[in-house]
Symmetry: C2
Amino acid sequence: MAAQPTETLNAQLMDGTAVARRIVERTAARAAALTERTGATPCLATVLVGEDPASVTYVRMKRNRCEKAGIRSLHVPLPAGTTTEELVAKLTELSADPEVHGILLQHPCGEHIDERAAFEAIAPEKDVDGVTMRSFAAMGFALPGFASCTPGGIMRLLDAYDVDPTGKRAVVVGRSAILGKPVGMMLLARDATVTYCHSRTQDLSSLVREADILVAAVGRPEFIRGADIKPGAVVIDAGYNAGNVGDVEFAAAAERASLITPVPGGVGPMTIAVLLEQTLDAAERQLGAASA
Amino acid sequence: MAAQPTETLNAQLMDGTAVARRIVERTAARAAALTERTGATPCLATVLVGEDPASVTYVRMKRNRCEKAGIRSLHVPLPAGTTTEELVAKLTELSADPEVHGILLQHPCGEHIDERAAFEAIAPEKDVDGVTMRSFAAMGFALPGFASCTPGGIMRLLDAYDVDPTGKRAVVVGRSAILGKPVGMMLLARDATVTYCHSRTQDLSSLVREADILVAAVGRPEFIRGADIKPGAVVIDAGYNAGNVGDVEFAAAAERASLITPVPGGVGPMTIAVLLEQTLDAAERQLGAASA
């Protein structure tokens, strides 16, 4: 027989859609059980300032998923001209409302809003989107608390594919408050050796080449070159750019990685699944009816 | 003339004692001015559970420095058998006391105390030791707030020696809640490319060799080998082990580094200076008499 050509290493896809579906199914079962036990329906308040089309779409998508999972979504649309004070007042009111168990403030809220002040008006026990300073510190210190949904989804996806971060070199490209920074903290809590890269990083390629686990979270299409992926690496592409393009050169990266998330269908569905699951966590705790 | 022998590269010492003295002098001047303007004396409450000799010494040292800087120290010694609830109650009381502007809880407090619960009982505006979750998140997000004192002192020392972290490879060895984690966040906020290493890190030597700025914070004597220091690196030794030994092999490291902190006399004095300065920041704000 003739020698076989060397096989191209082809990565396995990390199927976020399928993993997310299982999480949502379990969440729906918990929601039904909770409603049956308590008579109360778990409720996520979705707060939207203005009518930015992308934000309107995101909120509609999240609300649809809630309804399908047996979670009531209380929509709170506010006019584009809402002030920080008015937004804080509304979030404070929702934080005190016993019929609301989780609060999602869709962001960005617009230039004129002090977003940090708004986030901090969300009660920690209702911060199911993981945006408050307390939630960030909980991720940093590995304490009980809600994860930022995308980082939380990434960790769940790693678990679903039996990726143990212990002792691995994890490289996070991007340092936003709700993605890069918290996912790095969560990987560190799971004993990875974590490097944060960003716009001021020099020689990014050489750092990417060292990554056993790469998390790309920059929001620039195909910013990470496939040729820089370490053979056998796990590649998490949290980017989502126009035209269904991620932050990683997918085809070239998939030749070298062992596991890789597609865009779409990778990280995206996990984010919403974690939002729903954390809303149930919050509802169970607040209704005093957590499953044993 | 005969050729001169190649000169050994000798690092400049980062004189924490001198830099700290300048900070304390400025703080003392501000304290005097504040007292003259308001009639009130800035006050740091020092809470100590039990009589661990090292803790007793640390608290006494901090109180002495306070007095010399014109800051009153209100000492609150509690018996070794104090419960978490009693400690939380005392910290809550001090948080509400208008004559107390800053609170230091000396730790470790003992195995039986839930230290996190205790820290969180400190009002954020009095957390001059930078131990609360809110203070950590403020460091993570580069928001206004109090720094953990040792990380804050390290950043001040870098500034004093004109070390700009932008674009530099910073390697932090150690990931404690009050040292490794926050100093990494502060370096990241200053645009360094930050890698967190720890007990589960593999091939630590090769990571140390890449560090333009190395922060050693593990508490193991001479754990970092001098031979691994990158020529020209800035070496911050935040370790303090028995016999005045740091976490870095000092002599060998000093041959390669451009700047290095001695132990003692490097990071240690900076920690107390930042504690005093932040107590003044807190007092000025609470007394409504901040200098323009």
